[in-house]
Subunit: 498 residues, 2 copies
């Protein structure tokens, strides 16, 4: 079922004052408190003059329970792809039974590479231990460990691949700097663990440095994730925009949102090269549905990000300042109402009306935002770099072996050697155990055997030869990783202790 509603008709008087072109967006009202907060949100942004045509789709619980495990019908999916901009209320994913998260599906298939989470304290109106906090976490959203590529190949060891790509890094880092510039922010910080993961996180850090150089007006810095996370959790006032790989961003965006004290009031954007999705970070709260008590602020924050993203920055600024003024006026829904601080307890609709009444005003205690005259984000599509010279210089053959003495394994594996290709190292969980291992090193049944050619040049067919011999001499080779040099530089890590 697809419902077309042209809200822009009844707010035509506002829209006519604006210069930008109308944008058609897809809206899903979702489940639980979704419809109420979506109505409130749309009412506010339309009253502010958002120039939008709205096409509504149905996703979520009803669709799941009708037997669609993705929670979305193919036609609705087509609508999202056609309109490209998607404002989504929370949905309820039924428990168990193979239902897939619509968020994960949308993010993955639409290539929404950037997850953006503003985390701001509303002190003294919302309780927090961190009164001065106004940070934005920009999280890479497609790759890293969340590619979900896992294999168990021995009795004891399971593996997950962490993939970091140059386009992935370039896109997210550029987004962070463009966002910072649009929002008139001062600094972009990068968190990685590149002292340990020198190649994967090293690539992220390297790309950060490259792109930071294109934005001399914005301060930049890099922190090792452990110390950076500690500082962020303790003194968030030191940070502004923080960009990081997927896993770190997942954890730290939740930390940052939580310590603002206003996790229920936060929105989130998911940005791709062609499509984007905006939402509240909270869930559908089915038990509170239909009571006109829910706080629409989270979804409204998502909508403000949407308006900024599509270039309606003046409307975004107007809405955000009116919202801050309303919070500051003490007009609060039940979730943040507190005797002493709050002045008036209101329902969802009344809160929306209060924000609308404040349109055109600015907060005086909370910091007003200022991005009405900012340019749109400049996000060129990724251009593939010229290929480098790639030379095969060795291979890691991983062996499943239930013994304990690496010297014994070495003796067996050496039977795979040829005149040209020799065993040079065995590691267990990355620690060199042959040659010259330590007996204290604990070994699992998962051994990496590194083979290198005597002259530095390996042929692919020699790898096939090694595997054939392994089979002949009864060595259980469970996987291979080729060793390459790119433009003459080795592009693989050494063993610990090598």
């Amino acid at each position: 079922m697809i419902i077309y509603i042209n809200y822009s008709l009844w707010i035509g008087i506002f829209a006519s004052q604006l210069r930008h072109t109308m944008t058609r967006i897809t809206v899903a009202k979702g489940d639980g408190i979704g419809p109420e907060i979506m109505d409130a949100t749309l009412k506010i942004i339309m009253a502010a003059g958002a120039d939008l045509e709205i096409e509504e789709i149905e996703v979520g619980e009803k669709v799941y329970l009708a037997g669609n495990t993705a929670g979305i019908a193919p036609e609705a999916w087509d609508t999202i792809r056609r309109n490209k901009v998607f404002l989504k209320a929370p949905i309820t994913t039924p428990q168990g039974g193979g239902y897939k998260s619509l968020n994960v599906t949308t993010r993955k298939f639409l290539g929404l590479y950037s997850n953006v989470r503003p985390c701001v304290s509303l002190h003294p109106f919302v309780k927090t231990k961190h009164p001065i906090m106004d940070i934005v976490i920009v999280r890479e959203n497609e790759e890293d460990l969340y590619a979900g590529i896992e294999h168990q190949q021995t009795d004891e060891v399971v593996q997950c691949l962490k993939l970091i790509s140059r386009p992935g890094c370039e896109k997210i880092v550029r987004y962070a700097f463009e966002f910072a510039r649009q929002q008139k922010r001062k600094k972009v910080t990068c968190f990685t663990k590149d002292n340990i993961m020198k190649q994967t996180d090293g690539l992220f850090h390297k790309v950060f440095d490259e792109i930071a150089a294109e934005y001399p007006d914005i301060e930049n810095e890099h922190w090792i994730i452990d110390i950076g996370a500690a500082k962020m959790a303790d003194t968030p006032e030191q940070f502004d925009v923080i960009v990081m790989p997927n896993l770190y961003g997942d954890v730290l965006s939740d930390v940052a949102a939580q310590i603002t004290g206003s996790v229920g009031l936060a929105g989130s954007a998911n940005i791709g090269e062609t499509c984007s999705m905006f939402e509240a970070i909270h869930g559908s709260a089915p038990r509170r549905a239909g009571q006109n008590t829910a706080n629409p602020s989270g979804l409204l924050q998502g909508a403000v990000m949407m308006l900024n993203h599509i270039g309606q920055t003046a409307i975004a600024e107007k809405v955000q300042n009116a919202w801050l003024k309303t919070i500051e006026d003490g007009i609060h829904t039940n979730d943040i109402y507190k005797e002493g601080t709050s002045k008036q307890s209101v329902g969802t609709r009344e809160f929306a009306d209060a924000v609308i009444a404040n349109l055109g005003q600015e907060p005086s205690i909370l910091k007003p935002v200022n991005y009405a005259n900012s340019a749109s984000l400049n996000l060129p599509t990724y251009k593939r770099k010229p290929a480098m010279k790639k030379d095969l210089v060795g291979v890691d053959v991983f062996v499943h072996w239930a013994g304990t003495d690496a010297n014994e394994l070495a003796a067996q594996v050496k039977r795979m050697e040829t005149d040209h290709v020799k065993l040079t190292m065995i590691t267990n969980r990355g620690i060199k155990v042959w040659p010259d291992g330590f007996q204290e090193t604990f070994c699992t049944d998962h051994w990496r055997c590194r083979f290198k050619p005597s002259d530095g040049k390996l042929e692919s067919k020699e790898i096939i030869g090694l595997l054939s011999t392994a089979l002949d001499v009864n060595i259980d080779a469970v996987k291979t990783e080729n060793l390459y040099a790119f433009d003459g530089k080795d592009a693989f890590s050494l063993g610990q202790g090598q």
Copy 2:
């Protein structure tokens, strides 16, 4: 240079009162403030009656600068391995030039699988936003992404292997519960991301549940790391002992230490099956060296953990309570001295004397510890499980290809097929792009091609055949991952969208 000092002679009067047997430990006084804080620490624990024979080694800056890139001479290494228990002051690793972290080397080669970090607030004596906080992070210390196995195999994509092993999980989880029992703690919490990494983090969670069942006297719970980290950073009073894989533990132990407000007062233990190392978590602070101003509390906390670990729990309790009493008396070194809260500003030596004067006393505001009568930790060495039935059921061949249309790649890769083995799926960064991909899915040059046999049974030689054909038809196969079923159950992940 190795110096033997038998401190136990001059504290013989204390030692003679104790029942446990003397333990010989290795001590390194380190660099910067190391010697001062080590002297203070040893003086306190010996005065409390610690039954130790001390063998001193030299590690750190002098050794590095003498040309030893590991920062430790082979004889010193032998001493550590012989004595098994190592109390280490902070050292200075010279900048640049291939010097290796002695901590990493020690942890890896001695199999120190458990990193233990008590993080306690000393409110109101040390400033913190979290006055009620007394948690212990137990971090797996050997595996996970920190195995450091990285490969770049295409122009665009770099990979790091996350390895999680059953013995690794069993050892760390058991340690957490044993530690909790010894320290009379109530709850052990587990953090993982097993909703995404169902096999690797799933194994950690599964082992946690198995071992938790052996400790019915201790409460247990599991949190998804993002929400768990957010809760821990905001309301640490909800947690007690928290056990987690390496990367999460690295980040969150720094967060937890930082938010206590007393990161300079924290110690850490690194525990292996045969060896162990105890230290302060702070650095060597060379600029403050030799001034009798450093706070020895961090190293003293490490020493208390050491005493507990070797079963001298009564001495550990006595030292800890005297230390808490001293903090509470307002006798503070310069780093935590604060007008109003503190009563007396003292130097390193005077602080040690004050703790000694308090031996036998307990704090009255801070919570006294109570582990004098606790049993030693029961940490059996890992016993390998019987092998499961392992069946090869397919193979993922990863291909470097600079095209963009997955259908085109599929057509090429299908030339590798045999009557028995077929291409079933192609993913890019984990997302299914063939068959039935979406054009919005951003693709790198790193493609996973999954091959499966028509009857579910693959022979190893068929993988070799696939690779040979790939070579013949000019497909750049950069790595393989075998697909196995263990005891009849598939042990690999599906593609996103499969």
